[in-house]
Amino acid sequence: MQKFISVTGVAAPLMKANIDTDVIIPVKRLIGYQRHELGAFALEALRFLPDGSENPEFVLNQPRYREAKILVTAENFGCGSSRESAVWALASFGFQCIIGPGFGDIFTNNAFQNGLLLIRLPATEVDSIAAELAGEPSPVMTVDLQDCTVTTPSGRQIAFEIDDERRQALLEGRDEIGMTLMRDAEIVAFQERDRAARPWIYDTTPRAVAAT
């Protein structure tokens, strides 16, 4: 996983609630593409019109937001399906950070597994950042994970909170599988104890059953 220390770049306001993972990446794109190719289809249903041409109204198609690295969005972004492709699509489109009032639970885990920083701020704060971005010819923001602040185009600094374990993992670009494998002795000890306490969990030999 790539390290995340800080990012300075264009931020785009996409103030629509409940953007689900089917909208972020449609299911037909889950087969036959590499992770890094999925950016072409990120938010496909919003970015393109039914005839396949770009939707000029959509925020990410407007010239000043085209190079966005930060997405500012409304409540419950990433709800729905567990597809990690939603995160791969956003990352491959160029997003490194998403700011919103709240994110889907499974999407949140997937984002942090891939170095995509999610920042939760109160809805009123998010709304005011979005309003600032909408009125700004050069909507550039800075997100700093070392001191946990967001700096808006006008220079306003907003502090955010994040689980310490997740923050460290991002700062170090940590590989969780590698980290957990180093704890194998603890897993072995756990399973030994658990096998004695709940032996039926570990016996997975099926028995023949009459058709029901």
């Binding site: 409540e75 997740r166 957990t180 704890r183």
Partner: protein
């Protein structure tokens, strides 16, 4: 001196003994008892793991089944769907190479992963269960702590039989009151989502409790827990009771004999203690719930079947108003119109929400002796091979076939739309599925979520209709 134990909730009783170790910053390393793989990404994940030189730590605790991409055509073969041949081959070979059980097409184990788990007895109370699918919350109906994960987490489970997780808060939804005639478990959970919203459960594990839940069959509980993720919660649970234990006894992967009794003693210790504290509670009076149907593009956009499409002009919140306007435009519905009588093109009965034998039986009772309206294409896709065979033994397939339904093979089919089974653009479907998102059942497809009974009645009437009037 006896130690006074704090009253604990079902969730905590299952979470705590699975913590291998507490990591820093509020993250726990959680042991996983059962890991379920489906065809969409399993092959690719297993390959990446092998490329890294890693093998599954406990292959005996992982089970694979193809469901998402498989064809549901009655004459299907593995090659029948574009891409599925490769996906299924990669998964089957990958599983065989490392000793993971794989339930192949045309065997009794095959079906939608969340249908076969309980059916085979793989799902048991007190277990942690994960799968790369958000509707893994379904298994909580038996008192398991189960949740959907992403592809990277799948690799983590395979390699370590654990996951790094932040412990959620706990939310209890108390369902009480007498269920009105014609109202199903699907209606109750849809109405609940409508009342408390799709974000209500975010960051929480839900427990469904109350007299209504206690009276429900396991299949009804599975439908309720299935839609937990549509409340924003990745975990939904119901305390195990005699209904659960009777359901599990004798199933292929359930413990047997003396081991069953030992497990049973543990299972009986799991229900929430009196006085346990929840971070949030909601009380739902099911007596006030009518059959539900969705009108918009979020599962919270539901109304009573005899209700009217809401009017965005009456919505004060501008963001909500514009979302409603967009939903109505996508769905082709007029504000204030009665939803009953809206002509439909498709009916889909199936999915991990409502593809079980009891769902098929309920739909069959509506369909028996009637014909599908000429303007409607109607499908039944049983949730599993075993469900299909059981339904056929009861002659239910003949009821649907003679009414003009298609009777197909098990899989996710038109709920996920990944195998090519989709509702055509602009067409309107009443579906027993779980998501009415934009494009979910196919580009520009219009989905109305409903119960199997309401879907069956719509197929016959050719329009959205109140099944209670069909009789």
């Amino acid at each position: 001196m006896a130690v006074q134990m704090q009253p604990r909730a079902l969730f905590d009783k299952v979470w705590a003994p699975h913590v291998v170790t507490e990591l820093s910053g509020g993250v726990s390393l959680l042991a996983i008892d059962r890991h379920l793989l489906h065809d969409l990404e399993a092959g690719a994940i297993m390959k990446r793991l092998a490329d890294r030189g890693l093998r599954p730590r406990n292959p005996e605790l992982t089970f694979g089944v193809p469901d998402h991409a498989v064809a549901t055509d009655p004459r299907r073969r593995a090659e029948a769907t574009p891409n599925s041949a490769r996906l299924l081959r990669e998964m089957k070979d990958g599983a065989a190479a490392v000793g993971i059980t794989y339930f192949d097409l045309d065997t009794e184990g095959q079906g939608i992963v969340h249908v076969i788990g309980p059916e085979l007895g793989l799902t048991q109370p007190g277990m942690t269960i994960v799968c790369a699918d958000s509707h893994t919350c379904t298994h909580g109906a038996l008192g398991a702590l189960s949740f959907g994960i992403g592809a990277t987490e799948v690799a983590h489970v395979l390699a370590t039989q654990t996951l790094r997780q932040v412990k959620p808060k706990i939310l209890r939804i108390n369902l009480s009151g007498r269920i009105a005639p014609g109202v199903t478990a699907k209606d109750i959970i849809l109405a609940t989502i409508g009342q408390i919203g799709t974000g209500a459960g975010r960051g929480h594990a839900i427990e469904y409790a109350g007299e209504t839940v206690r009276a429900m069959t396991i299949n009804e509980r599975l439908t309720v827990c299935n839609l937990s993720i549509e409340l924003g919660a990745k975990i939904g649970m119901i305390a195990p009771d005699d209904t659960t234990f009777e359901y599990l006894a004798g199933r292929a992967y359930a413990p047997q004999g003396e081991m069953f009794d030992r497990a049973l003693a543990y299972w009986r210790s799991l229900p929430t203690d009196d006085g346990a504290r929840f971070d949030t509670e909601h009380n739902i009076d099911v007596g006030r719930i009518a059959p539900q149907i969705s009108w918009g593009t979020s599962p919270q956009d539901v109304i009573a079947i005899d209700g009217r499409v809401p009017d965005p002009a009456k919505e004060a919140d501008p963001q909500r108003r514009s979302a409603m306007e967009a939903a109505l435009s996508y769905m082709g519905l007029a504000p204030g119109a009665a939803i009953e009588g809206t002509p439909i093109d498709w009916v889909f009965i199936g999915s991990c929400t409502n593809g079980r034998l009891s769902d098929i039986r309920e739909a069959a009772r509506v369909v028996a002796g009637r014909k599908v309206a000429p303007n409607v294409k109607a499908w039944v896709v049983p949730g599993s091979e075993a469900t299909q065979r059981a339904a056929e033994r009861e002659g239910l397939d003949k009821i649907f076939l003679s009414a003009g339904f298609e009777w197909r093979k098990s899989g996710c089919s038109m709920c996920a739309g990944v195998n090519g089974d989709t509702v055509p653009p602009g067409k309107r479907s009443v579906s027993t599925t779980n998501r009415n998102f934009v494009g979910r059942q196919g580009p520009n497809a219009r989905t109305h979520l409903a119960s199997p009974v309401t879907a069956a009645a719509a197929a016959i009437a050719g329009c959205i209709t109140d099944a209670r009037k069909v009789g």
